[in-house]
Symmetry: C2
Subunit: 175 residues, 2 copies
């Protein structure tokens, strides 16, 4: 069994870090329901979203993220039962690439870096499962997509879904 695992919102907690950045600079007091089923760009003022995008493009943001709760223990176990590849759509922020590489090596040193995949269109991924928070990647994926819950995908109904890493392992028959 081969399992491809997305990075942002699945093993790296990118969304809260973006909220914190916006709150610290622009004083947003986010209502949790405000971004349910919506992308940040739909909630935040245009100029603030542009400033956030410029920050993301600089790259180092991706080197400072906190791992998603339970991800390290879950991938440690998963790695014993499956070929685990980390497949991240990084081409939107090319300067993030070395930061993402270092981050993965620091937090998930048990995954061989030859199994890191930095791509854009994930239909190129050959795996049995893809665990991802963006359902668009499942539409042309050859295996089964498993949706990792994040605020923006709250309305998505087409795929099996997990809310955390315990549920993800259960869906894969490993818990």
């Amino acid at each position: 069994m081969r399992v491809a695992v997305d990075m942002d919102e699945v093993v790296a907690d990118a969304f809260p870090a973006q909220l914190t950045w916006l709150t610290e600079r622009y004083g947003y007091a986010f209502d949790p329901v405000a971004y349910c089923g919506r992308k940040l760009a739909e909630v935040v003022a245009g100029e603030h979203h542009q400033a956030l995008q410029a920050h993301l493009h600089e790259g180092s943001f991706f080197g400072d993220l906190i791992p998603i709760e339970g991800a390290k223990a879950a991938l440690t176990m998963l790695n014993e039962h499956a070929e685990v590849f980390i497949t991240t759509a990084a081409m939107e922020y090319p300067k993030s690439l070395p930061y993402k590489f270092d981050w993965l090596q620091r937090h998930f040193p048990f995954i061989d870096s030859l199994r890191f995949v930095f791509c854009g269109d994930k239909s190129i991924i050959n795996a049995d499962y893809l665990i991802d928070d963006n359902a668009r990647h499942f539409e042309r994926f050859g295996g089964e997509g498993i949706l990792f819950s994040a605020p923006h995908n709250a309305g998505e109904q087409r795929y099996r879904r997990d809310s955390n890493w315990s549920e993800a392992l259960a869906l894969l028959g490993l818990a």
Copy 2:
């Protein structure tokens, strides 16, 4: 039809650039037959190879390469008949990643950057064909591997082979 295309020795002329680097520093006068069927590490003195590796790890080497002859015209045509992905085993030199990204955008601007794939183990690639100079990537690849000739792979007999981009297009039925 989806065609995955390797980068170094297939669209980027990395090997001669490495030879030039070694010649300029250490005065090698390379005999063309010396590295036929052998890797550079087998021909060059250990300390010189280590210095070259340190240079490659710094990353900028990959931003200055000359495109392989005929690659631009061939990929322009191929891109009209197939989904072309650039799939490069870049994880050995993580600092090369932004340089490779910029290089691809500069020399092959007609290929959508969402179709750049930076990986290590190419068995993760889902494509009909993989054009690559390293036959080891074909062993677990689900499609057909087409070997792009380079000095080091001179002895490889297991796969269809092309010597240049005209022959590669012909093998794909496009010339």
